[in-house]
């Protein structure tokens, strides 16, 4: 898993998907439009100020509300590299994993990170490093969710699984076997 380093944008509890991207922009999933309005309701400086690699840090139940996949797409369109939260709402969690957005769950990290602070996330070691150099152990999606995330999302994951199926197993198609049985 890649290392991520960027500035933290801090938000509170219950940031819902309408706050991440209001319904009035759902006429499109054009990344430019989504990025221009992402999180503007919670922090009007965010869309213009966010830089690729930055990290969103929020409290409990991040991504609650409507199931729109536009919410994680909007964060990705802004260049957000990861979301660190005390907890994630269920469908947002799925949608983010499916779209390949890195999620980190850690109530402690959320408490310690200061707005604007430069932080690092080390996926290999399972750590979040504060600007003071201090480290906090954090949790990443595990098991099947991690596989999907590492493949770059669910579309890519399924693509490669289907491609693997299409490749004949070693030995198949050898002399004397019948094709297409």
């Amino acid at each position: 898993m890649a290392r991520i380093a960027g500035r933290a944008w801090k938000f509170g509890d219950d940031v819902d998907t309408d706050v991440i991207i209001p319904a009035r922009y759902l006429y499109t999933h054009d990344p430019g439009v989504l990025a221009a309005h992402c999180l503007e309701v919670a922090d009007p400086r965010f869309p213009a100020g966010v830089r690729p690699g930055d990290v969103v840090v929020a409290g409990r139940n991040f991504g609650c509300g409507s199931s729109r996949e536009h919410a994680p797409r909007a964060l990705q369109a802004c260049g957000v590299a990861a979301v660190v939260a005390a907890s994630f709402a269920r469908i947002f969690f799925r949608n983010a994993v499916n779209l390949g957005l890195l999620l980190v769950e850690s109530p402690e990290a959320v408490e310690r990170v200061q707005p604007g602070e430069y932080i690092e996330i080390d996926g290999e070691k399972g750590l979040l490093r504060l600007s003071s150099g201090e480290t906090i152990p954090v949790r990443f999606p595990e098991g099947a969710a991690a596989e999907v995330q590492q493949a770059g999302g669910l579309v890519e994951y399924v693509r490669s699984r289907l491609a693997a199926r299409a490749v004949p197993a070693p030995g198949a198609g050898a002399e004397g076997t019948i094709q297409g049985e």
């Binding site: 609650c64 996949e69 799925r94 949608n95 499916n98 669910l154 399924v158």
Partner: protein, 413 residues
């Protein structure tokens, strides 16, 4: 010895090919059924093609139901419904149900008789949890998830911890599954069951007819739950299985419940809001559009008239419910009372059509969500209740306890 598991864990373990799963872990599991509707299928179809897949994993295991905006309400909805219809033809989908033979997906599924206890069902619709009442692990997912399930016949799941809810006692008259659901949500809050599987047990559940259980499981998602199970057959929770929480509620004295704008958790006993004038009453939806719901409404409306200042819209949830309500004389009762009766559709439930509210209008509906603007103008207001309160309200012209109407109690002038 095998580790003790809950019903939800047993079903997921069986589909993941594992002896055991534990809450919090994510696993790949085989899905038995994939469900989508005219709004969510087109995006899922697009994503499935992006995955490089041109055939669904099994055309007999994909269920496609046009219900939200059909019979098509406008050109855009007609185009969406066509995308799904053409896909169903191209793929040879066995369970595709056309207008005139369909029903609201979550009411139609139990009627089809194809789901078995212990099955795993995913649907690109949040109320997929309805079929939990059949002992099925049924959960709502996004369109990309559904695309994956249609392509591979598998999907990843985070195993939910279970919350066991026991309803003790016998339900009083005029109180049913909807009242239990609203009471439950008022106790847990709208995110009280996030990531969790709710499991319903107790005497009141054992005595509740299947229709009422479907209503209760339907609204599990309004508390944030991933599933709302009534365990059936061998798929029971082990007594020693660890659970996230246990609740026990005595419901023998439960009054009919009403959820006030703008949250399904903003619940009060009906007497606290009795007398609130309404402009419209809707009886229908995947929550309360089944035959027993129409039977309750017909009992109250028989020989009575809808209040002159109220519009009553009755929508049988499926074609079969419609036909049986006709045979039982319920439809004639509704028509004589002055109600509008429609072919099955989601229509007004999501503010689509067939009963959209104007600014300032008030509606009492047997649907499941009363968020701001859900049924029309952001300044309209929706109250949620069961079919008995809904029918009584249509007659009284204001929110009313069924007993008041049956007993000739207060009435809006």
């Amino acid at each position: 010895m095998a580790h003790a598991m809950t019903a939800a864990e047993k079903i997921l373990a069986a589909h993941a090919g594992r002896k055991q799963v534990v809450p919090g872990e994510t696993v790949w599991a085989r899905v038995d059924w994939c469900l989508a509707n005219d709004i969510t299928a087109p995006l899922a179809i697009e994503q499935m093609r992006a995955m490089g897949c041109d055939r669904v994993f099994d055309p007999a295991r994909v269920i496609l139901v046009p219900d939200h905006f059909v019979p098509a309400k406008d050109i855009a909805s007609a185009a969406q419904a066509r995308v799904m219809r053409e896909f169903a033809r191209e793929q040879g989908i066995v369970h595709y149900y056309e207008v005139g033979r369909m029903g609201i997906e979550h009411a139609l599924l139990p009627e089809l008789g194809i789901l078995r206890p212990g099955d795993l069902l995913v649907g690109a619709d949040s109320h997929t949890c309805t079929c939990g009442a059949l002992g099925v692990f049924a959960t709502g997912v996004g369109s990309t998830d559904l695309a994956c399930a249609m392509a591979l016949g598998e999907l990843w799941f985070r195993v939910p911890a279970t919350v066991r809810v026991e309803f003790r006692g016998r339900l009083p008259g005029w109180v049913g599954g909807k009242d239990l659901a609203l009471f439950l949500i008022s106790q847990l809050g709208t995110e009280g069951a996030n990531y969790l599987a709710l499991e319903f047990t107790g005497e009141a559940i054992a005595q509740l007819p299947l229709d009422g259980r479907l209503t209760l499981s339907n609204m599990a998602v309004e508390a944030g739950a991933k599933a709302g199970l009534v365990p059936v057959g061998p798929w029971q929770s082990d007594e020693e299985a660890p659970v996230a929480a246990r609740y026990t509620w005595e419901v023998s004295h439960l009054e009919p419940q009403v959820a006030c704008p703008y949250s399904p958790a903003q619940v009060v006993p009906v007497r606290e809001v009795a007398g609130t004038p309404v402009d419209q009453v809707v009886i229908g939806s995947c929550t309360n559009g089944r035959l027993s719901d129409l039977a309750v409404a017909a009992r109250i409306l028989a020989g009575r008239k809808v209040h002159p200042q109220v519009r009553l819209i009755v929508i049988p949830a499926t074609q079969d419910v419609y036909r049986r309500a006709l045979e039982a004389g319920f439809i004639a009762t509704f028509l004589e009372a002055g109600a509008a009766v429609s072919t099955p559709t989601c229509g007004p439930c999501l503010g689509g059509y067939m009963g959209v509210l104007a600014e300032g209008e008030v509606c009492l509906a047997t649907t499941n969500r009363n968020f701001r603007g859900r049924m029309g103008h952001p300044e309209s207001r929706v109250y949620l209740a069961g079919p008995a309160v809904a029918a009584a309200t249509a007659v009284a012209g204001c929110i009313a306890h069924p007993e008041e109407v049956i007993g000739g109690g207060p009435h809006r002038g």
